[in-house]
């Protein structure tokens, strides 16, 4: 059975990120290319972080979802360059991250060549206050930092710009 490119994209758009199920892998911007020909689908993805343990799980999910959508065989290719950036998160995905309790990246990814010592005030996804402090630059996953809201006193996670 042959699958169109649009059908393949919508199957991919239904795959949740394994760590943050509120957004899909296409929201995240890691699906770079999809090519379909005679039931064969080639998907090119880019990892978020070099060591992200979800990358392999995502590759398996892609194969499973496309086969379920009717692809005969699926090949997933890993592409490193251009390197993934949080700038590729859609606005809609950022809103859903906030609704899920994770503060979305509030700034554009800074120039990687320059050191970062500047700390923007991050908006608490629960009460909306920007009176917050960083607890650690590294959270439960590599892509998130730990923060505490000083207004409502709740801890929260911040999806850090990269």
């Amino acid at each position: 059975m042959s699958l169109t490119r649009e059908e393949a994209w919508s199957a991919l758009a239904a795959i949740p990120d394994p760590e943050i199920p509120a957004i899909s892998i296409t929201d995240l911007g890691i699906v770079r290319e999809v090519a379909c020909a005679n039931g064969h689908v080639d998907v090119t993805v880019t990892p978020t972080y070099s060591g992200c343990p979800a990358t392999e799980m995502i590759q398996r999910d892609i194969v499973r979802a496309l086969q379920a959508a009717g692809a005969d065989d699926v090949a997933v290719h890993l592409q490193l360059s251009p390197a993934w950036t949080t700038d590729w998160l859609s606005e809609d995905a950022k809103a859903r991250l906030a609704a899920y309790g994770i503060a979305p990246p509030q700034t554009l990814a800074p120039d990687a060549a320059r050191p970062v010592r500047f700390r923007p005030r991050i908006r608490c996804p629960r009460c909306g206050s920007t009176h917050s402090e960083q607890l650690s630059a590294f959270g439960a996953t590599a892509c998130k930092a730990l923060y505490r809201c000083l207004a409502c006193r709740e801890p929260f996670e911040y999806f850090k710009p990269i």
């Binding site: 990892p47 972080y49 070099s50 060591g51 490193l80 360059s81 390197a83 993934w84 950036t85 590294f138």
Partner: protein, 259 residues
Amino acid sequence: MTSTQPAGALCADHMRYVLRIADGSLILGQRLGEWCGHGPVLEEDIALTNVALDLIGQARLLLTHAGRLEDRGRDEDALAFLRDESEFLNPTLVELPNGDFAQSCLRTLFYAGWQQALWTPLLQSRDAELAAIAEKSRKETRYHCEHLSEWVVRLGDGTDESHARMQSALNYLYPYVTELFVPDEIDGAAVAAGIGPAVDTLRAAWDAALLPVLAEATLELPGATPFRSTGRQGRHSEFMGFLLAEMQSLARAHPGATW
């Protein structure tokens, strides 16, 4: 390709150049992984192991690439788990024991600063895969530098006890920094082939990034010593064998096992 040098030798030099970078990430990742469950506070336990995860991710990409350059069928696992001590080409700095938290922070900062200085010129590498790995890793290393710089300043410019510990970490580690910037024929071949910079050219960027951090941490640089470590030549400290024994035990006990 030059006609004076056989393609095989060029490729071996290229592979060893990549392997040195890969082994630095792998061995420091292994050392930082030892902090898992032992961090002074939960947040730092998580932070150090997150840094370890980034480093091991970089090592996987670099080792896979080195294996393809070598073209003898060795994959990332064969290179990480089935090589012996003298075949590892990481600088000695990264294999030293973790010591206390101050020593672990400073060592990681020293190496992250070196990586940061390396990734930028590697973006121009004629080896497209190496340039892509550098582009990816550079974003991660930047966060490592930032995080570890903060700890070095906080502890160095902290209490008498934390200052003394950070100063003694500096005294212990600083002689091992020299090796990071000593070029040899492998660097020379990489420069000639447009693959990457010679390590002595990274010193200025390292100094510019790290010396202000050490100054802000109120630490005093120890004087120069004639000591020079030789891990990048495959001649390691007495600590390396123990590290490998632990890191490789599972893969060696169950060759070819998968799960």
